[in-house]
Symmetry: C2
């Protein structure tokens, strides 16, 4: 990978990292901040002191992730809040549309919803310079989340088998809403879409870096037309890990 | 200070630390966990991305404090959740009775309410063994909180001078409710009350450690009768720092 993946040479880029990379870091920083809020809220309403503590630990890990992404943006000479700003609306919309009804739905959302989102971010990070890739990979470590959630969801389903059908539907809705928001982001952030497209052979790597500024619209010819298809294809590629997570919870796809 | 301050030699104490110390660590662990929930909630509803991030940082610091206290309890051979349990009701009651109406009241609560609570815990920790004292002192570091809160409250008051009177009353109520909950805790946890009393000359240091178990009631003769007075005296001793905090905010006592 190029050290300047997504960079816009000659443009008023504040650093070696291009707008695709800055977008990814801004998106992820806000995603981690909101994940922190969600997990802290879930922790507060968890049924026991031990599960409050366990979820508070997960929230603490998300805060640390947010802080690292935030600091990396500042290090790149970017105002972190400006980089996060374009992603507040779609991420807030995703959370508003997937408000869990109760504790078990929260757990499924944390595991299945954040799981597929993390796979998606990971895919994007693979297309970036090594430093960005390593940073993003570091923030995606599930840090005990899987174990904690899987045990609790399985025991809830064992106690009330009818839950399995409801939770399977819930998981399907989570993925549908995630796909919808990802497509909206791709439509609004052409550099990020170009970065993503570079990974599925629609656009050659680096083709998005033609020197256009962020406000000049899509920079790679034909990128707009394929945005929706690209996002859909990437999501389809993530099916395997998604199915594995559902199976771990004892749910069907 | 004795290495076994508050210890109950010969009793079924699980470690060198006595019930007064275990109580203090359990109380503080739960206080930090709840402070984490409050700050994370305040962060979520903060008006800008930058203030969301700054409050999330404070919440992250409180989570780290909770984790250290929790791990210390486990290290002492105590089930951390059992040590925290007796303090959930009074701390939840304190928060329920001091629900802030809006963002500025939240900030004042964080600074003034947590400030006096921290001074109180600090007073208790001084009476413990050096390791406990150092641990507690470490969890009370204000880590940028003061600076963040003071600037925001002062600017809110400058914009709307009538706020000063309302916030001064709010600060008074925060202290009143804290005193009331501290007295309730002292009445219910005689070892903790004895530890506190040992610091104000009512009971000689270590006098509470007469070998009684946690469920045998007050162990130092006369301790019950002076519990309320002791807590009141300790709070009175904390007036100076409390007044300094109010002055920093531009509020009156």
């Amino acid at each position: 990978m190029s050290e300047e993946c997504g960079a816009a040479p000659g443009a008023a880029a504040p650093s070696a990292a291009g707008p695709g990379v800055i977008d990814l870091l801004g998106l992820l920083a806000y995603a981690r901040l909101v994940a922190f809020f969600r997990l802290a809220g879930d922790a507060e309403f968890a049924p026991t002191l031990a599960s409050k503590g366990a979820l508070a630990d997960l929230a603490g890990a998300e805060h640390a992730n947010y802080r690292r992404l935030h600091d990396r943006l500042a290090e790149l000479g970017v105002q972190p809040e400006s980089a996060m700003e374009p992603f507040t609306a779609p991420l807030d919309a995703w959370h508003a549309r997937t408000e869990p009804q109760g504790w078990v739905e929260s757990l499924v959302k944390v595991y299945v919803g954040d799981g597929i989102a993390d796979d998606f971010y990971s895919k994007l990070a693979e297309l970036c310079d090594e430093q960005t890739h390593a940073l993003v990979r570091g923030t995606l470590v599930e840090s005990g989340r899987a174990e904690f959630v899987v045990a609790r969801v399985r025991s809830a389903v064992a106690e009330e088998p009818a839950l399995a059908g409801r939770l399977s539907l819930w998981a399907r809705r989570l993925v549908g809403e995630a796909l919808s928001q990802a497509q909206s982001v791709a439509a609004q952030r052409p550099e990020l879409a170009a970065l993503l497209a570079s990974g599925v052979g629609k656009v050659a790597p680096g083709a998005g870096a033609d020197g256009s500024g962020q406000d000049e619209g899509a920079s790679a010819a034909g990128a707009e037309a394929t945005d929706l298809a690209t996002v859909g294809r990437v999501f389809a590629d993530l099916t395997e890990s998604h199915t594995a997570r559902l199976e771990a919870l004892g749910l069907s796809t």
